[in-house]
């Protein structure tokens, strides 16, 4: 008995939860996460771009995502929040099959993009990733020039017929990412010479240069200072008019500021989903409430 309690506690801790969480409460959380409840709130939306049903992800023996079902709407920002290790990044990486690069990862359930299962054998991964772009936690521009960074996607996908069109794409992408005025005179300089916030906006410009339908953002501001963060948040708000955006964030303020819907993950399960305003003012599940009021997480 005693042993299993410490085991539970260590599991919670390794999952990154509050180290002071007392064992009984942690056990309760574990039981809840074990699939003994269904998601609180309406997971469906009309005319979704992504429709995920009963998604499970395993890393070898580890059950990382437990039976998650959620729709993602067009022209909307969906924020995914939750304590570290709760699986929100894992789930995000399912949406453009970046988990394919991890050999031990296994995904079950269905994820439909415009009604077609992206894990279908006929689905081409390269094509999927051209439709579903991704921005990472740490800015990761290619060690090439600013111009080449943005031009890379259109070039490999053959989106520009000639140099003029390519220049045009680079120009508009940088402009939409709010970076044009800062870099227009030094497009040939290495991207690594930019500041962190500029690099992240360059990564966004690079992503929108291939004109995707969905943009996934994995904690895009966690490595940035508040001013750079504010600029990215404004940018997300503008981009919402054109793209569906899924953003994983650790900052509840950020989720509240940029998103229209919020999904709360806990230990691999989707606990609650709903309009952002309601989640933050009137959470229905006590785990959600505990997290957003700062009692753990």
């Amino acid at each position: 008995m005693n042993d299993s309690a410490t085991l539970d506690e260590s599991r919670i801790r390794s999952a990154g939860a509050e180290p002071h969480a007392d064992a009984p409460r942690a056990r309760a959380a574990e039981r809840l996460a074990g699939g003994e409840f269904s998601t609180v709130g309406d997971v469906t939306v009309p005319d979704p771009i992504f429709s995920c049903r009963h998604v499970n992800v395993y890393y070898g023996e580890k059950h990382a995502i437990r039976d998650v079902s959620i729709d993602i709407a067009r022209q909307e920002v969906l924020a995914m929040i939750g304590p570290s290790g709760c699986g929100k990044s894992t789930f995000l990486r399912c949406l453009n099959r970046m988990n394919d690069t991890i050999p031990s990862a296994r995904v079950t359930g269905s994820i439909l993009l415009d009604g077609r299962d992206i894990y279908d054998r006929k689905q081409d991964v390269v094509q999927l990733r051209a439709r579903v772009g991704m921005v990472f936690q740490k800015p990761n521009p290619f060690p090439k020039s600013i111009y080449e960074n943005v031009a890379y996607g259109p070039r490999i996908h053959g989106l520009a017929a000639d140099r003029v069109e390519l220049d045009e794409i680079v120009h508009t992408s940088l402009q939409r990412a709010g970076l044009w005025d800062e870099v227009k005179d030094r497009l040939s300089q290495p991207a690594t010479s930019l500041s962190g916030g500029q690099q992240q906006r360059l990564c966004i410009a690079r992503t929108i240069a291939v004109n995707p339908e969905v943009i996934l953002m994995d904690e895009p501001c966690s490595a940035l200072d508040p001013i750079a963060t504010a600029r990215i948040e404004d940018l997300i708000d503008e981009l919402r008019a054109t793209y569906a955006i899924v953003i994983v964030t650790h900052s509840m303020q950020q989720a509240a500021r940029v998103s229209q819907r919020t999904a709360y993950f806990h230990l691999g399960s989707l606990v609650e989903v709903g309009p952002t305003e309601r989640i933050f003012t009137n959470p229905r599940h006590r785990l959600t409430e505990a997290y957003i009021t700062g009692r753990f997480g």
């Binding site: 690069t101 990761n140 290619f142 060690p143 890379y152 490999i156 290495p190 690079r206």
Partner: protein, 438 residues
């Protein structure tokens, strides 16, 4: 856990703590100084050994760049060269050029008669002198009937005497220079007809039994062809293997087995590769013996593990965020590797390749097994010509009894080291060119 038996300690005052820290600091700095001293000693010792090595080799080998030449007035006598007057190349080739040298020498010392004296006189000049005259006539048949003043190779003994390698009192022993020869040498020197000049022979000739005629050209070309082919074969194969293993191969028992075996191959003694080359390439496939082609195949086997291991390490060192970025942009796996991962790994791969090539350049044992140790006079002009390599040439010369080969050996080592330095410099420059920060 239990501290009941012990006397209760008074808590330390900040001052006492400071003193303790100070005392430990002194100890720590002492350890640091000692460690630095050890390191410095090791470095100095290493540099001393390298300096000693270079100094000995240079001291012994630098004299090879100068060589004793005799200046003679040669008359290209049509009677001797081409008695029938045909001027055909075959006739010109077969003529008795030694007679021309003999006549020219006797013209220099008119008083000398008698077979023994004449023979002693001609021994001052290398047998290569006749070849030199033949080469000149064949290159320019118009010389026949003309008179020309040429510098001709002196014999090895004269060369050694001029360089001070043999003392004058050694004369007469071991069939070396006689009193008369010594006198003639002095006369020639007084007349300015015998002197040390830049040794062109060493750089344009192949191997020879006569030390004064032996050159490194054959070995350099042999090494060049062998290394060129080794690079052409091992670099693409090694990089492709590393990319496949690192980026595409599934992680399972087979790839583990391959990895272990590659690491084992890197440790296999090189002579074993030579035996394998002999059995497989020469015995089974029937490729020509002593050829740079076979040497390159064997050295490729030898360098592949080094290149693969270095390339894999370099690929592993590329940050995964770059791969993620490229894949998320919709680059295919091969585009990700070719556009982003390989360029970033290139400096490391090049370093590994250069280490492998440097090892291949200095490798002797496997080449012995496949016959590149043969005595080959002709300079190879292709991948299938019989050839030898620089380290093998050094080995051969160091084994020769003639004293003239001592400086040749060191000279060849200098050439080998120069070869290595040039290669390493090229590698450093290439590295700089490819190196990028991320």
């Amino acid at each position: 856990m239990s501290e009941e038996g012990k006397p209760v300690r008074r808590p330390r005052t900040p001052r006492e703590t400071q003193e303790l820290v100070e005392r430990s600091l002194r100890r720590r700095y002492g350890a640091e100084r000692r460690f630095r001293a050890y390191g410095l000693c090791a470095v100095i010792l290493g540099i001393a050994f390298v300096a000693f090595l270079f100094a000995t080799i240079l001291a012994q080998g630098v004299s090879v760049f100068r060589q004793a030449y005799v200046q003679l007035d040669v008359f290209y006598d049509p009677e001797v060269i081409d008695p029938s007057g045909t001027r055909r190349e075959d006739d010109l080739r077969l003529a008795d050029y030694e007679a021309l040298v003999r006549t020219a020498l006797r013209a220099e010392f008119p008083g000398i008669e008698g077979r023994r004296d004449v023979r002693q006189l001609t021994r001052l000049v290398s047998s290569g002198a006749a070849h030199e005259l033949q080469r000149r006539v064949l290159a320019n048949p118009g010389l026949v009937g003309q008179r020309e003043r040429v510098w001709l190779l002196a014999s090895a003994d004269v060369d050694l005497l001029l360089k001070g390698e043999i003392a004058r009192d050694e004369i007469g022993e071991e069939g070396r220079l006689s009193e008369e020869q010594l006198a003639w040498i002095d006369t020639l020197r007084e007349r300015g007809r015998l002197e040390l000049r830049f040794n062109r022979t060493f750089f344009v000739n192949g191997d020879s039994r006569e030390p004064e005629q032996a050159g490194v050209r054959g070995a350099v070309m042999g090494s060049f062809f062998t290394l060129l082919l080794t690079l052409i074969l091992s670099f693409p194969i090694g990089v492709a293997a590393a990319v496949y293993l690192e980026e595409f191969a599934p992680r399972n028992r087979w790839t583990d087995l391959i990895e272990v075996n590659i690491n084992n191959l890197a440790a296999v003694p090189s002579i074993v590769f030579g035996l394998l080359g002999l059995a497989v390439f020469i015995g089974f496939f029937g490729l020509p013996r002593s050829a740079p082609l076979v040497g390159a195949l064997v050295l490729t086997l030898l360098t592949l593990p080094t290149i693969i291991i270095a390339a894999r390490a370099a690929l592993k060192a590329v940050p995964p965020s770059i791969r993620d970025a490229a894949l998320a942009m919709g680059a295919s796996p091969i585009q990700t590797v070719v556009h982003h991962v390989l360029p970033l790994a290139m400096p490391g791969i090049l370093t590994g390749t250069i280490i492998g090539m440097a090892r291949a350049l200095g490798e002797t044992a496997p080449l012995l097994m496949i016959g590149m140790v043969a005595f080959i006079v002709d300079v190879p002009s292709g991948f299938t010509d019989p050839a030898t390599a620089l380290p093998v040439q050094i080995f051969l010369w160091s084994d020769s009894p003639e004293r003239g080969f001592v400086e040749r050996t060191s000279g060849a080592i200098i050439v080998l080291l120069a070869f290595l330095i040039v290669m390493n410099t090229a590698a450093v420059l290439l590295r700089r060119r490819f190196e990028r920060r991320w």
